[in-house]
Symmetry: C2
Subunit: 256 residues, 2 copies
Amino acid sequence: MSFLTYKNPSLVEAASVIRDALEKHMLIVVFGNCRVDYEGRASSTLEWGNRLVIIKTDGSVLVHRPIGYEPVNWQPPGCIFHVEVLDGELKVRATRLHPRETLNIFFGEVIHIMVSSLTDTGEFSLYVSELDIKKAILTMPSLVEEGFKPISAEKELGESGFVDVLGEDSRGNLVVVEIKRVSVGKDAVFQLERYVKALERRVNRPIRGILVAPEIQKEAQLLAAHRKFEFKPISLKRCYEVLKLEKTKKLSDFMV
Amino acid sequence: MSFLTYKNPSLVEAASVIRDALEKHMLIVVFGNCRVDYEGRASSTLEWGNRLVIIKTDGSVLVHRPIGYEPVNWQPPGCIFHVEVLDGELKVRATRLHPRETLNIFFGEVIHIMVSSLTDTGEFSLYVSELDIKKAILTMPSLVEEGFKPISAEKELGESGFVDVLGEDSRGNLVVVEIKRVSVGKDAVFQLERYVKALERRVNRPIRGILVAPEIQKEAQLLAAHRKFEFKPISLKRCYEVLKLEKTKKLSDFMV
DNA sequence: ACGTCGATCTCGAAC
DNA sequence: GTTCGAGGTCGACGT
């Protein structure tokens, strides 16, 4: 893994370093005084200040101020770059097609550059997503309620979108399950309402709506109660354990 | 503005530099080989690899891989930090309360550290937001249609939320305006429908629904037509010009 | 290619 | 404090 730093380079030197690194698809970190403008889905300008500019190996760009999680300006992966020194400023242009958007960074002073051809093969795993909750419910339907039997997942319901899980309860009622990973808000209740109503237009039997999530917001609770929807709390940890168990089981099946 | 870099520091040196910089609320950029785990709203692990870790002056943390716009792990502003060298690893812990979340970064090797007490006072301005479109419409109601007269903006309609702009047309009909900055999707149509229906329960006169945005999605167009809602295309540039004009006008009023 | 939906969303404003 | 909506959202998945 190559790694190089340049302290207080001239703008011409900086331009050369950045051009070379872009060609080799290296990670580039520039610290310096710059102004930025953007033109695309919206337009923005950022006046002079000291910032951290990161150009990644996939052609994405981040302009970070000293505060805030989010970059003040950016460009998603896949940009085409142009670097030049013009009127005493180092201009880095990152252009994206579809949609057509341009980010221009003008450095008046480059304080530090770091370039590296780094490799990062480390695996990233996130434990419980909304899809994981669905998988956990399909694996262990009793997470919704005792006697619940899934019929299908993600059933298309015309303009109303998809049902997270469709099933039957122990008394033969249709059950529409709406899953939220964190908290049931108003939206989830309205969505479930749309699904249930769309289903009621198609079939002629009792339909129950159940909201499944770790928690529900107060207002959503009222809206749900008003529509006779039920709320079933679920634990992310429990879902994670159900999925891990399932994985181990499948693995042991394979081993035998 | 102070600025310091450290190349290939020992883990103990690195810990000392980071601790000191955290105390002074400096911007810290660390490049090194690390593994990361996170526990909070979800849980995640990231195996060993070379990454760029940024700790900002407001206590936010970003862990960036060589590709992707988004950080692989992060922590929003306001974290409490703990730095220690343990079992041959430099551990940086960033804890957040509300919700309780912990990010642990374990460095096996630190390749480069950059610390700086940077200042960045440059103003950032984005030209046209959704609010700007509303302001532009309130300033120049003909953007919606000739003869449109706004009555109020952001009218509360119970559980249906807020109306972007409520007004009257030239023939005395009530007009509900739903604004989207980029494109009218299904959601906007459903939202407008909720507003119109909520309003119909309250007043007994004709109500029109108008969707205002630079463009409309095909499916949304059908849904809108089915509900007799109209779509009024609007240009972001035009809004920007209307607002700029208004600003200049106000300024000149002040000057006189 | 386009549309839909989730996100450790983040961020800000309003209540 | 909570709730809600917007975002240049981004990113993933399905058609």
